[in-house]
Point group: C2
Chain length 289, copies 2
Amino acid sequence: MSSLVVIGLGLIGGSIAKKCRELQIFTQVIGIDNNPETGKFALQNGVIDVLSDDLQVCQNADLIILATPIFAIKRFLMQLKDINTKAIISDVGSVKQPIIESAKVLGDKFANFVPAHPIAGSEKSGIYAVNSDLFVNHQVILTPDDTEVRAVGIISEFWKKLGAKVEWMSAQQHDEIFAATSHLPHLLAFALVDSLANNDSSLDIFNHAAGGFRDFTRIAASDAQMWHDIFLDNKQSLLAALEMFTADLSRLKEALIAEDSNFLLSCMTNAQTARNHFAQILQARNKSE
Amino acid sequence: MSSLVVIGLGLIGGSIAKKCRELQIFTQVIGIDNNPETGKFALQNGVIDVLSDDLQVCQNADLIILATPIFAIKRFLMQLKDINTKAIISDVGSVKQPIIESAKVLGDKFANFVPAHPIAGSEKSGIYAVNSDLFVNHQVILTPDDTEVRAVGIISEFWKKLGAKVEWMSAQQHDEIFAATSHLPHLLAFALVDSLANNDSSLDIFNHAAGGFRDFTRIAASDAQMWHDIFLDNKQSLLAALEMFTADLSRLKEALIAEDSNFLLSCMTNAQTARNHFAQILQARNKSE
């Protein structure tokens, strides 16, 4: 008898649970969620086998996955400290260093903790968006610290079964990269949409929103609490990325004021070249699948 | 015998020409483009009936559409000044006030000039992306100045035949709205992609680009020269929108430094509410079609 406990039945946690049930990787998939409606929906729609509100179910688990927003992950790590379990513990948080720091509270069990980040977010969130193929061909990044190699191997195989491509890097490198590629773009999108919504002509603006703005609003539709936690927890790397961006934006603004065509064109051509390079990476990635 | 002259066979000009041929609105569709390859492709692929390199073809035209980047639109307006034509003249530029200013050079013919902006851009550009259904259900904004009502009516009907929904507003209002909803988001996308491409870890960044960043790179793939012209020509409104945005971004940064959860959450919740409101507008728009 093998058992998986998923704590937090949002888009990510729910999709993990559902796929594990479909693949019958575990004899039992147990779900925990602080929202009774969410838990009920998960149970009734075959996302989990058992709904529980008692962390003691973790005692007999083989694998525990923390899939709540980051601050709640930290709270659950505190609580897991006092539970007697040999389970491998993993998470799905978008910022790794602070979670690893918090996980040290686990003591001996820290050797069984495998920090993980599946890159499979979406502007959709919550149990109703659950999709058991969410991770297929998506990257999962593992940032093991003082983790037993055996535990890392098991989590690596686990994610491959769910269709993901697994990669390892240091938690610091992870946090810096995602500050730039994910957290900063989300911060800018939230800021722009909020800024325009507060504008006197916001109705006109929304009525005539063109292509560029639509993409921003799509990004800004993401879960507020989740991003609140990410921004605060990756504050240092995010502020560094923001600093770099605002310096560059400010140079672009000066070039605009000075009507410096060469500067403007070279900036935009650079961006296009980078985009084309990026499109090739994506294409190569898809071909290798 | 009725004749359309399209100057500039990019995505917009080419798509107009192709649709007009398909609908047989004119007896003859004449194309002009400074790139011989583009002209040849347009001729060989049924986008136009006749390729010309001589603006004198405008003498006998019924309708002339300027579909080049903005600075070239202004150059062509200068040249049209000296051509003896009774044609209605229109354009597709994304900034209206400076084009109207330039069009005053037309003298008597200014009464036949109908400033227009079809909202149908795409990150794709050029003749190879031509699509005769590009304007179906898209907005076209007319910003008539001292234009004869008859000319505005004809252009309005023209765009409706191409499937577009036509709206009128003042050129000033147009330029302010699009500074916020289109030009600023594009400026931010170009700035972010350029900024990250120049970063020491740019390879890592592009290799791990997550959802948010992908949307930015998509925006930044747009034509550099076209956006260069737009940014410079709508400089004043764009700088005002940028000013407002950077002030809001700076407040968000301070809140992040101070770890002011309430401020962060309220900003992001606002953005989400605005996004939901926007999604409803889009839905209503689609239903009414």
